[in-house]
Symmetry: C2
DNA sequence: GCAACTGTACACTGTACATGTACAATATAC
DNA sequence: GTATATTGTACATGTACAGTGTACAGTTGC
């Protein structure tokens, strides 16, 4: 049994694989602190049933997060959230982020979103991060 | 022959398919206005040789951008950049952008990038967009 | 020890990516 | 006008990956 109910959604029609969507969504919660160290995630079967996918798909997502140091997986107990030390960033990490950010914005503009909308979202997120420390 | 030399790079080791990397990179140039209407992109074989991939891979990328309305493809003439009308954004576009933006930041933080670094990048991009009109 | 529940391993199927190859269309040279 | 070169396109193929079905292994609680 998990400590809390997660509100995750996956898009089966998306071009991104489901297990990667799960990883992204969970990591966002972990980074934001919505999932604190000591919490237990739902079991692979529980979450799989909730999302409508196979439990091995969820297990793959858990395994990736465990490799990244976010989770500790053990049979019968479940997925425990760890307090993860911040790794040293790679040299190219920043420019890689900048490039992907630019591409994300380009795609959004290509979908018709206005510049001022994007600017508002970017600034709002920046504000939120700024108050979050580190 | 193309009007200009493109500076694109693809990462064959990436988990993202090459044709999608090409789409993202070209779309970023198109949205930014670095590729103006009336320009001719390099031929599929030219660009493929430059990137070290098969010309059909580049063709697939061109085809996607053509479907989005960015390019007009014709045999023997090449890929012509169109002046694309801004489509009406879908209702979920904004929250979809917000979610993906959040996940991108989460992944960056997970890689060790500091909050202030991310804030700086977000604000810099917002500044750039703000001056760009629309 | 038994039972129930956990994550894990592995074979299997469908699908997507990238390619090799051949073809169709068209601008250019003559 | 015709030949030719160069363009984008169509399609079959090899390969790898995503997702699933099924069975197994480990751990907790009785």
């Amino acid at each position: 049994m998990a400590d809390r109910d997660l509100t995750l959604r996956v898009d089966l029609a998306s071009d991104l694989p489901v297990y990667r969507q799960i990883v992204s969504a969970l990591r966002a919660l972990l980074v934001a602190g919505d999932l604190r160290a000591g919490s237990l995630l739902p079991s692979v079967r529980e979450l799989a049933l909730d999302l409508g996918v196979h439990h091995n798909t969820v297990a793959e997502a858990y395994r990736i997060l465990a490799e990244e140091g976010w989770l500790d997986l053990r049979r019968r107990r479940g997925a425990l959230v760890l307090d993860r030390h911040q790794p040293r960033p790679e040299p190219e990490a920043r420019e890689g982020f900048r490039r992907r950010l630019g591409e994300l914005v380009a795609e959004a503009r290509s979908r018709g979103l206005q510049n001022r909308t994007l600017v508002a979202e970017l600034r709002k997120l920046a504000e939120g991060l700024n108050g979050g420390g580190t």
